[in-house]
Symmetry: C2
Subunit: 221 residues, 2 copies
DNA sequence: GTCTATATAATGATAGAC
DNA sequence: GTCTATCATTATATAGAC
């Protein structure tokens, strides 16, 4: 019973043309970015004519907006679903949100780089749900943090999104597609290990901090 | 004595047209990505005609290759220079390389997302220099790592590159341009704090690891 | 070395038939 | 709802003058 690609359990062939176009656009935007993705390419991937894309969505920009809005809606739906099933009270809202965005993290990351205004709001929301987690981790440490929680939460999220953004290079170096089940598992294990161990001793960090004041910071492009 | 933008100490006006075009291209590629950047825009930014761009570089693709090669060369030059001055044996080769790439991290990150083959090699080199650092940190921990060094080094680099990649969103959330001197300093402090403290207790990490086996991994786009 | 003018290709937008 | 055909725009590539 190999059924090809599906969306929410439904084989793509069974979706309305409108939904197929939207899903094809999501894939193409994720893979190539908004600019490089073409209406013709999206139409071909969806198995329809370019004219039908225009009929349903008006313009390329409006198509992007529709995909953005739909992805956001799906993430919120998934989040609510996971929170409802609520088995994993383990790590609080952060892990729920991470699990909810997982199927869309590639699209999300790319849309953020492509400066999609609708998706931009999601970054702020991710920072919001990450903050309590940082606060919780702060309770376990001796020395006081040198920068505020929100800053660290924001930096941490930018870093986490680097993984799907550089998936091609990660996959090449690791020798496994990071979007495959095995690759995804490997990344998750690596992240857990990274998150649960300090890479720098407090002393080294302090000395590096001291060196920061001495060094010549160069604004960069 | 405000002298406008410079390259290696030389005011841009004093550079040859060829060099000005190359620098303008680097800025435009960093800002807009390869696809969205136009030869016309680059020529205008360099203060020359589009025809001259073609005269010096042949095609847009060749221009990209030239910029890539030049950035790589500059990074290696900077790295050698820093290694020679060698005051900061503090943090090993990793921090040295970070310092070398700092002025170009924006270009680097964007070029990696844009799948530039020449820059792709730099990602592998970053992983190479990061591995010893991971090994060094491993010596300080009690429990054995659950994934190999190279995997963690690769993931860590992908994460670090997330910062310049999402600079626009980071800057918005933090309220300061992360490419400005103050912003750069704030990010550096945040990274040092993040790198020197565990965010997850070993127990929590273990329980999350256990949950990984139970959960349903979804391949993502 | 540098510019202007033009050719060509790709793409988004549009109109109209079925 | 869906397709085919066409237009308009934009960007790259090219040729040739100065």
């Amino acid at each position: 019973m190999s059924v090809g690609r599906t969306f929410r359990g439904t084989p793509l062939d069974d979706l309305t043309a409108r939904a197929r176009i939207r899903e094809a656009a999501r894939e193409q935007f994720t893979e190539h970015g908004f600019e490089r993705a073409t209406i013709r390419g999206i139409a071909a991937a969806a198995g329809v004519s370019p004219g039908l894309v225009r009929h349903h969505f008006g313009s390329k920009q409006e198509l992007r907006d529709a995909v953005d809005a739909h992805v956001l809606q799906e993430i919120h739906r998934l989040g609510a679903e996971i929170a409802r099933d609520g088995d994993r009270g383990d790590l609080g809202p952060s892990i729920v949100s991470r699990t909810a965005i997982r199927p869309y993290q590639g699209y999300l990351a790319r849309a953020l780089v492509d400066r999609s205004p609708i998706i931009a709001t999601m970054f702020d929301q991710l920072v919001d749900v990450t903050e309590p987690w940082i606060a919780w981790a702060d309770a376990d440490r001796g020395d006081p943090p040198v920068v505020d929680r929100r800053t660290r939460a924001a930096v941490l999220n930018a870093m986490a999104l680097g993984v799907p953004l550089l998936h091609a290079h990660l996959s090449r170096v690791l020798g496994v597609d990071v979007f495959s089940p095995e690759g995804d598992r490997l990344i998750a294990l690596a992240l857990l290990d990274l998150y649960s161990h300090a890479l720098l001793s407090p002393e080294l960090a302090a000395s590096a901090r001291a060196g920061l004041e001495a060094g010549t910071p160069e604004p960069a492009g």
